[in-house]
Symmetry: C2
C-alpha cells in the first residue's frame, strides 16, 4: 500500500490536472501545493514514475498514469466523503473539515469508507460542492460557470466553492452564499472589481471578482 506521502502527491497532481485540463503538472507548482522544496518533488516524482504511477519527463512536468489516477481518486473520495461526514454527522463547520480530512484520508479503511458512504446515502458532492469520486473511481463532471461570469440579472444557484481556505469559507458563509443558495447578479463593476448579488429575502452581498471566480453556479 502507498505511503501517505505518495497519496498526497497523487492527490495534488490529480487536483492540478483537473484545474488545468490537458496540461502536464510542473514540479514547481507541486512543490508549492505540498509545501516542500522543488528538489524534493523531483526526487519523489521519479520514485512515482518508477512505480508506474506517473508519467514523468525531465523538465517536462508530470502526468498521472491510469494506475496513479485510480489511486488519487480513491484518496480524493476518502477526503471528500469524510468532509461531508464530519459536517453532516458530527456537526462540524464546513470551514474546519478540510484540515481534519487531510489527516483522516490516510487512515480510513475501505470497509469504513463504504459504511460512511452508505450512511450518507451515496452522496455525489461534498459540503463545498466538490464531486465525490465513486468507489470505482468515476467522477460526475459538471460543467459549471463561475459567479464572476454570470450576466447581470441572471438567476442561478451556488453549486460549488472552489477554495478550502477557512477564512474564505467563513466569509462565504457569513455572506450567505453556501452551496444551494439562489442568487441573482445585480451589478458588475469591472473598474471597481466588484460584483453585487441579491440573495433571497431582499438580502444582498458584495464581493470582489477574484473571489467570485472561486464560486461556481448552476442554472436555476
Amino acid at each position: 500500500m502507498p505511503t501517505s506521502t505518495v497519496e498526497d502527491y497523487l492527490k495534488h497532481i490529480l487536483l492540478e490536472e483537473e484545474r488545468v485540463p490537458g496540461a502536464r503538472v510542473a514540479t514547481g507548482s507541486l512543490a508549492g501545493a505540498l509545501g516542500v522544496t522543488p528538489g524534493t518533488v523531483t526526487t519523489m516524482v521519479k520514485t512515482l514514475s518508477d512505480s508506474g504511477l506517473v508519467d514523468y519527463e525531465a523538465y517536462g512536468g508530470v502526468r498521472l498514469t491510469a494506475a496513479g489516477r485510480q489511486l488519487g481518486l480513491h484518496v480524493l473520495r476518502r477526503h471528500r466523503l469524510m468532509e461531508l461526514f464530519l459536517v453532516r454527522t458530527l456537526g462540524m463547520d464546513w470551514s474546519e473539515v478540510h484540515e481534519e480530512a487531510e489527516r483522516l484520508e490516510h487512515a480510513l479503511s475501505d470497509r469504513l469508507v463504504e459504511r460512511i458512504d452508505e450512511m450518507l446515502g451515496r452522496p455525489s458532492v461534498d459540503p463545498h460542492g466538490d464531486p465525490i469520486p465513486s468507489a470505482a473511481g468515476e467522477v460526475a463532471g459538471h460543467e459549471l460557470a463561475t459567479l464572476a461570469a454570470l450576466p447581470v440579472g441572471r438567476r442561478a444557484r451556488v453549486a460549488r466553492v472552489a477554495d478550502q481556505d477557512a477564512a474564505f469559507l467563513r466569509l462565504v458563509e457569513r455572506l450567505g452564499l453556501l452551496p444551494g443558495t439562489r442568487v441573482r447578479v445585480v451589478a458588475r463593476d469591472a473598474a471597481a472589481d466588484t460584483l453585487e448579488v441579491e440573495l433571497g429575502r431582499g438580502k444582498s452581498a458584495a464581493l470582489g471578482l477574484r473571489a467570485a471566480e472561486k464560486i461556481f453556479v448552476a442554472p436555476g
Copy 2:
C-alpha cells in the same frame, strides 16, 4: 507533537504497566507487542527517555513519567472513544473496530475527539468494557474479578473482555457473553480446564479457563 510511532510506544507501555501494576516494562515484551525487534525498542526507548517521556535504565526495563503517562492516556482515549463511535454510530462489529481505531487514533484532532465524546454522551467504557480516560487523563479504575475466579453458583454481569483478537471476540459474541450479559457459573472442571456458565433464557456456554480469565465480571 509526537510521531505516531512514539504514540504507539507510550500506549503499549501504558497498557503493559496496567496489566502488571508496579512493574517496569521489559523491552522484550514491548518488542513483541509492537512487532519490532528488541534492538529497535532499546533505541527508541532511549529516545523517549531523552524526551522525558519514560524513565529508563539499561537492563531494567522502562516506566512512564508523568508526561509520558499523560500522552499515553490521550492516545488510549482516542482509541477507545473511536472504537465505541464505530460500533454505536457506524454500526461496525466490535470484533473489527480495534484494527480500525489503531490507525485512526493517530489522526484525530482534539476538537474532533471532543465532538465524538459529546455525541456519545461522555461514555466511560468502550465496547469491550475497557475504561475510556477522560480528557484530563483520568481513568475510572474498576477492580473486576475474572469469570474464571467466580465461585460456582454465583451470579454476575460481564463487564469487560480483555482481548482484542477478532476471532476471540467473535467467539464471545457467538457464545452470548457480550458485556452487560448476566451469567451464572454452573460448573468448573479444573482437570478438564473448562468452565460452564448459564446465560439468560436457559442458554449456557462452555469455555476454557484460559479464555475465562480474559472475561471480567462485576457483581450483579
